[in-house]
Subunit: 231 residues, 2 copies
């Protein structure tokens, strides 16, 4: 059964695939024709073993003793990740973040396009951002169904997120990228990824405190000594 992975690839391996893809695109622009797992690993901050292991989940794309053809490997990654298929996406919530997502050029560059936007605020409904007309929430169902939109971006307040999620799923959305700081419940046939800014910042804050706690732990010893010295 070609195309079917023997063993399921770890989530992190898929994410690294995106990194490889991106790096291969840069190499290609630079006119580099061939790359080794070693080279690719230094460029992506991975290891050579991991690059080979990650790729092996999906097939064998290189030549022993030679390396990988940049163009061919890139197009394999492209195919696996579904890049450039022009997936239409819906955006719900056109506040500050939502507007920024509409304007984000990273999506169209990878072949993902926000083709519909919705908001519950009547003042926003009807406004046009980047050629997209903001529609009211009660048109979610019809529009998503009609345009067969499978992916949606959720940029609404935490309190509204679960209800909107259910609306979207009911309309046929299969993939959700959630920006609201809340853990959404979705049925098992729906895929969910989350971008949670608070979690990221708090994680950094934790690391910072921890490193300072370590510093002061070793400082304690010095402090102990210092207390024996006259001020």
């Amino acid at each position: 059964m070609p195309g079917t992975p023997r063993v399921k690839a770890p989530q992190m391996a898929i994410r690294r695939l995106s990194m490889y893809y991106r790096t291969l695109a840069v190499l290609r622009e630079q006119g580099v024709a061939s790359v080794s797992s070693e080279h690719l690993s230094t460029l992506t901050g991975s290891t050579a073993a991991q690059v080979r292991r990650d790729l092996a989940y999906f097939g064998s794309f290189g030549r022993r003793g030679v390396g990988y053809d940049v163009e061919s490997l890139q197009s394999h990654m492209r195919g696996i990740l579904g890049i450039g298929e022009g997936w239409p996406m819906a955006l719900v919530g056109v506040g500050n973040l939502g507007s920024a997502l509409l304007a984000y050029d990273g999506f169209p560059r990878q072949g993902f396009r926000i083709v519909e936007a919705f908001d519950s605020d009547p003042r926003r409904v009807g406004t046009v951002i980047r050629d997209v007309v903001v529609k009211p929430m009660d048109q979610v169902r019809e529009t998503v169904r009609e345009r067969r939109i499978a992916m949606a971006l959720l940029a609404v307040p935490a309190k509204a997120a679960q209800a909107v999620t259910e609306q979207l799923i009911d309309a046929g959305v299969r993939c959700l990228l959630n920006f609201a700081p809340i853990s959404l419940k979705v049925p098992s046939h729906v895929y969910l990824a989350s971008v949670d800014l608070s979690i990221e910042v708090e994680y950094l804050s934790y690391l910072l405190r921890e490193s300072r706690a370590e510093d002061s732990a070793s400082n304690d010893i010095r402090t102990d000594v210092t207390t024996m010295m006259p001020l």
Copy 2:
């Protein structure tokens, strides 16, 4: 040595701590005084065993047979994560995304505040967004040092990201939250977290393709049968 974890907590455990904290805040608003690991796990989409294991990395905060005091546990989480300490943050890159980050109220609500913003575009320099005056890049060093800013948000184009990163680190920044779609290289004393929208969307795209491939794999059988039928 109190406060020092016996075993290092996994990165994911820290991130889940943020979720617990957030959920505890909601429970407290609702006037709930006590919570069990079981209850907390259903609210956060975790498991009871995981909640207890995660907390155990940092101490023992509950009472056997009773559960956890919501207020006390929340304040422990707050302390561990460094929430509410009023960390001042710098933002570099005041485009669409950067502006949205400046306006994002989730940061101040957790006690993280963007107090300085920088941009290389002279047209943006001098503009005021949410009481923050956008400064030119050549003031990064002085400003970050003077205000002892340890955390920075990076919302610049991928091509500029590495250079800006080095500028920030040179100025004394210890934590970076990167929004540019590139893998940054940082020295080991600097902490880095990344929000990469392309990776998230491509991950969802992969899952969607994979699920459809599985469908069509079973469809193949049906299709084989169908080809034997007259059109």
